[in-house]
């Protein structure tokens, strides 16, 4: 027992070093965001001499970030809710129900995972333009859902496969329809997976630049990351302002993660005490 404990403490050393290495860039970014452009160029690593919030307010005010922020919030939350709903429905059917063509359908979903956005960018833009969905919230939401649904279905399918069939059979005997099983059993049991895939999808959608750029050409509907990225001109000139934009964009994701990771951890803990 003591041997195990010692080895755990030994493991903690490299893990702490890694943790420091992951915190450092964030601190670095905060530090840069506080600097003037001149200070940054003369010495990038030195600590800022003052807590300057000008860069953050410049980043926020110069290009209508509040508007972009709202756009991102609308598009990302809608996409994630839709992704989790459709992903868990399909995942449940593909993992637990036997029906004709299920293997083919699963492979179809899987194939979607391997389509690089670049190859479909132009045709997709044309489809969206023809259906008048380009430059609308539902349009970008659909593109996001299509992009990340294969991943979501895949994860939910693997996760739901681990749920013993007896659970479902029991629920069926209790008189639940297939939909009832989905709603009353699969959704609650899928919580840890739904939370983690939700976090990842939120992060992917939130950080996306290319899809948002192509699907939302007008400034009015632009998302936050596109706004932040366009702070950097041709020659990545003003790094402190850009770093401020990056921080503005990162904070919501960090908050969501720190808030939700407890739920994931609870899911993990619940899973580990189940047996």
């Amino acid at each position: 027992m003591t041997r195990v404990r010692l080895s755990r403490w030994l493991l903690a050393i490299p893990m702490t070093l890694l943790a420091l290495a992951t915190i450092y860039p964030l601190l670095f970014t905060v530090n840069v965001a506080m600097k003037t452009r001149r200070d940054y160029i003369l010495d990038r690593f030195a600590l800022t001499d003052a807590l300057r919030w000008d860069n953050i307010s410049t980043a926020w005010n110069s290009v209508g970030m509040d508007r972009y922020f709202l756009n991102s919030l609308i598009v990302v939350t809608s996409s994630v809710v839709l992704l989790l709903l459709l992903g868990s429905m399909a995942g449940f059917a593909l993992s637990q129900l036997r029906f004709r063509g299920s293997s083919a359908l699963f492979l179809g979903c899987l194939a979607g995972l391997f389509v690089p956005f670049q190859v479909i960018m132009v045709p997709l833009a044309r489809i969206m333009a023809d259906t008048a969905l380009i430059d609308t919230y539902p349009g970008l939401v659909l593109v996001f859902v299509a992009q990340f649904l294969p991943f979501t279905v895949f994860l939910m399918t693997s996760y739901y496969k681990t749920i013993p069939r007896e659970v479902i059979d029991a629920a069926r005997i209790d008189g639940n329809s297939v939909y009832g099983v989905y709603r009353r059993i699969m959704l609650p049991l899928g919580t840890p997976a739904l939370l983690s895939v939700g976090i990842l999808n939120a992060l992917f959608c939130w950080n996306d630049v290319l899809m948002s750029l192509v699907m939302m050409p007008s400034a009015e509907h632009r998302t936050l990351m596109v706004g932040v990225t366009s702070l950097r001109g041709q020659y990545s000139d003003d790094i402190p302002t850009f770093a401020s934009g990056v921080l503005i964009a990162a904070i919501p994701v960090l908050v969501v993660y720190l808030f939700l990771q407890r739920q994931i951890a609870d899911g993990v803990a619940a899973g580990s005490t189940k047996g």
């Binding site: 630049v209 750029l213 050409p217």
Partner: protein
């Protein structure tokens, strides 16, 4: 219990989303209409371009009060990808910004020739050639872009050199570099990570190496890659690297803006910079102070050559062919190149504007020198090359610095690429 809390959270988010969605979905943009023009660029988001855009907008709305103009600043790294998608689907902005040279010439199929609309501006503005293909002009030039050789007068003085008279021959220049090396500074700040270093090198020094005839032939498309002088440009590049004139790790140093930062922090005495945008006299003035910043002509390598400043049209606005009223869009381009707007761009961003009537006497000696050299200037050598050859040249130049290729082999590859394109 936990589940219920989660579901109510999801529900709240969902409702909030629905609420926001319906509240803020205020009609989509009006594509192809005559009362609105959409402009794409990568400049209008920058604080230093604010005054410029405002002046241009004011100028335009004085002529067309009923038309609204929307500027959409796009991220530069995806700008041409995005533009490509717009061109292929035939839907995009009415007016768009281009870099001069290959980027616009490759895409003229999607643009309206502007010659009839901008005839009045032809005299006032310089830099048209970079936006011209087969005798037709496709954009109004906003800035001039070129490659002056900047030097740090302070370091010159420290090394016991005369800051007022930089070297005019290559041999003298090498001697000066040796002196500068003794006081702990590098001769050149070089960033060749993007392969841009060699482009700047070729254009900044070319006029001191190629004869006037060779230079003009090169620009006209008759490029003799086997000529000893062309090879010498690349040989000098390699020699400078081998002799340690550049900062360490030039192949992993970004031109933008790590190499410029080396010059700005006086770790190197020279840098081949830009005239507009960044890495230019205004940036350097800020760090070195205007009176410590010098601009020198290319040292003469081949006897009998007359060094000249290399410059072209930098950026310019073009009109898409799918716009509903080309005349209206061309008027916007004219507003974007009006003297008043360009004056503001020069003052705020330090751009050397295409309008040569702008007074730059307040900008310090470096800017004055540059503007003074514009008259005798010639188009930059690298701008005449295709995007593909430039891309190859970047890679080959890195190999030259690392020693994994000979000058002969490098020139051979470039010749093949140039002739294929």
């Amino acid at each position: 219990m936990k589940q219920r809390a989660l579901w109510s959270a999801v529900l709240v988010v969902g409702l909030a989303t629905a609420g926001c969605g319906s509240a803020s979905d205020t009609g989509s943009s009006s594509g192809g209409s005559t009362d609105k023009l959409v402009v794409w660029d990568w400049k209008s988001g920058e604080p230093s371009a604010k005054a410029y855009i405002e002046k241009a907008k004011a100028d335009f709305s004085a002529k067309h009060p009923d038309v609204t103009v929307e500027f959409v600043a796009q991220p530069f790294d995806q700008y041409y990808t995005l533009l490509g998608a717009a061109i292929q689907s035939g839907k995009g902005p009415d007016v768009m910004l281009f870099n001069g040279g290959g980027q616009i010439r490759d895409r003229v199929d999607a643009l309206v020739p502007l010659d009839d609309y901008v005839a009045e501006d032809k005299q006032r503005l310089a830099g048209w050639d970079a936006f011209t293909k087969d005798g037709k002009t496709y954009a109004g030039p906003v800035t001039l872009q070129g490659h002056p050789i900047y030097y740090n007068k302070d370091l010159y003085a420290k090394a016991g050199l005369d800051p007022a008279s930089p070297a005019t021959t290559w041999d003298k220049f090498l001697a000066d570099c040796a002196a500068i090396g003794k006081v702990g500074a590098k001769c050149f700040a070089l960033g060749n990570k993007e392969g841009a270093g060699i482009q700047f090198w070729l254009s900044a020094l070319g006029s001191g190496v190629l004869t006037a005839q060779e230079y003009d032939d090169w620009i006209a498309g008759k490029r003799d890659w086997n000529s000893p002088n062309v090879k010498r440009v690349f040989q000098l590049w390699k020699d400078a690297g081998d002799a340690g004139l550049n900062n360490d790790g030039a192949n992993s140093t970004a031109m933008f803006n790590d190499a410029f930062a080396l010059f700005q922090s006086a770790k190197a005495a020279h840098v081949i910079g830009l005239m507009s945008d960044v890495g230019h006299w205004k940036d350097f003035n800020e760090f070195l102070t205007p009176d410590k910043l010098g601009v020198m002509s290319a040292p003469v390598v081949t006897a009998g050559t007359t060094p000249s400043l290399a410059y072209d049209g930098g950026i310019g606005y073009a009109v898409a062919k799918w716009t509903s009223d080309p005349k209206l869009a061309a008027d916007l381009v004219r507003s974007l190149t009006s003297t008043e707007a360009l004056q503001a761009f020069y003052a705020e961003a330090g751009a050397i504007a295409s309008d040569t009537t702008i007074d730059v006497s307040q900008a310090g000696p470096a800017a004055a020198t540059i503007v003074g050299q514009l008259k005798g200037g010639k188009p930059a050598l690298h701008v005449a090359l295709s995007s593909k050859t430039l891309d190859l040249m970047g890679r080959v130049s890195q190999q030259l610095l690392s020693g994994s290729i000979s000058v002969d082999e490098a020139v051979k590859q470039l010749a093949a690429s140039d002739q294929a394109g």
